[in-house]
Amino acid sequence: MQTGWSNETLREIFPAIWDGFVVVLQVTLVAGIIAVVLGLLVAIGERNGPVWLRRPLGAVFQFIRNTPLLVQVLIVWTATSLYINPDWSAFAVGSAVLGVHYASYTSESYRAGIDAIPKGQWEAATALNLPTGRVWGAVVLPQMFRRSAAAVGNWVIAMFKEVPTLFIIGVMEMIAEARAFQGQHYTGAVEGYTLAGLLFLAASYPVAVAMRRLENRLASE
């Protein structure tokens, strides 16, 4: 069994890792949409929803925020495949769990953005008798997004870096690909993991820089 670094192996493993990287991006897209949209709905629901909904909603997302992603992934995957539908793919279930998990964080960032809006804005909206939909759509959400965009963006980057957690249920992202390659060829672990790390860095660093620019721009306006 070869143990040292091999450029030959690196070349051989690259297509597999690249496939895994594409899967990571797909998961990020699906879970990212869930995290961004569901988080917003939760934040609005906790603030403006019917009273019977607010507490349970808060409790559920408090629970999600305070338990490990890995545990959630395993529980949901086991439960769905045993009791609901064994045909659901690991990709679908994993993306959903990851998205909901991060929605529990993004909702907090949205909530902070909503809370930061001065009380006078709500009062002016009331004084003008604006309907609830307009108050949120035209007054609150536009101001909230400016305050929350950077934080939510950072959560999506953090989420992107946690996609490998899903290898535990068999989502063929980069780590799973590296392990599969190693299983077949008895080599490539070091090269595969290194490549995975570099691809993560290459993808998330520019986004992080862009997010920081966005943050500065929104703050300065």
């Binding site: 001065p118 006078g120 804005q121 009062e123 002016a124 009331t126 004084a127 003008l128 008798n129 604006l130 309907p131 307009r134 035209a138 007054v139 536009p142 101001q143 400016r146």
Partner: protein
Amino acid sequence: MRQNEAPREPSGPGPIIEFDRVDKSFGDLMVLDELSFRVDPGERVTLIGPSGSGKTTILRLLMTLEKVTPKADPERDGGVVWLEGKPYSHMEKKGVLVPANEKWLRRRRSRVGMVFQQFNLFPNMRVLRNVTEAQVHVAGRSKEEAEAKARELLELVGLAEKTDEYPSRLSGGQQQRVAIARALAMDPDILLLDEVTSALDPELVADVLAVLRDVAESTSITMLCVTHEMGFARDVSDRVMMFDSGRIVEQGPPDAMFSEPQEARTQDFLRAVLAE
């Protein structure tokens, strides 16, 4: 000590606003204590008094930003704000008065407009849209109609050339004048002015007051005004009401109130304010 108002002729036009033994407390703090008064249509009333005397709370109740502290039996004990002869803080349900719900308030409060101490313009909208937003989405006017009205009002407040600016690019005085235009755009019967010059640099106060003098002269709108600008109060108002601890200390026409206040508390208060 409290000056009771004469009973009203049943035939004449009724008061546009009536507070009937209204209580308002925040927790243990009693802000309004069995407060009763009436305002006639078109009347300009200035509320004065030390801070914490309940003036702003009266405006906030009229704008439904606060709710009255409910009494068990409104028919007998009052605690109701009436607007244009109909219950406002309450609504009739199966023949009895119950605290108003949001639907009722939404229907009634559009008769009332308010200008705030802190302007409260929407920072994400340009000046023009600040003035058109409610016209389009509450009054149901077309965009063209709303914009024409907004331009007319912005002209009136001397800001015709600022329609495309964001509020953050305007001075406090300019923002407040936009806020006045925004409130007037909804054609309220009642305009509430809550210390509208208190947050302004001294040199910007005059422009805002000039606009309000204009409004007072050119319209028949009912105005309730909380202010420390006694000159403005004297020029514009028909009646000055002096408050202390949630009660009316005395009230009367501005000349009488400012030159010969009867109550010691009014005298002290005016001396303190005019010495500023």
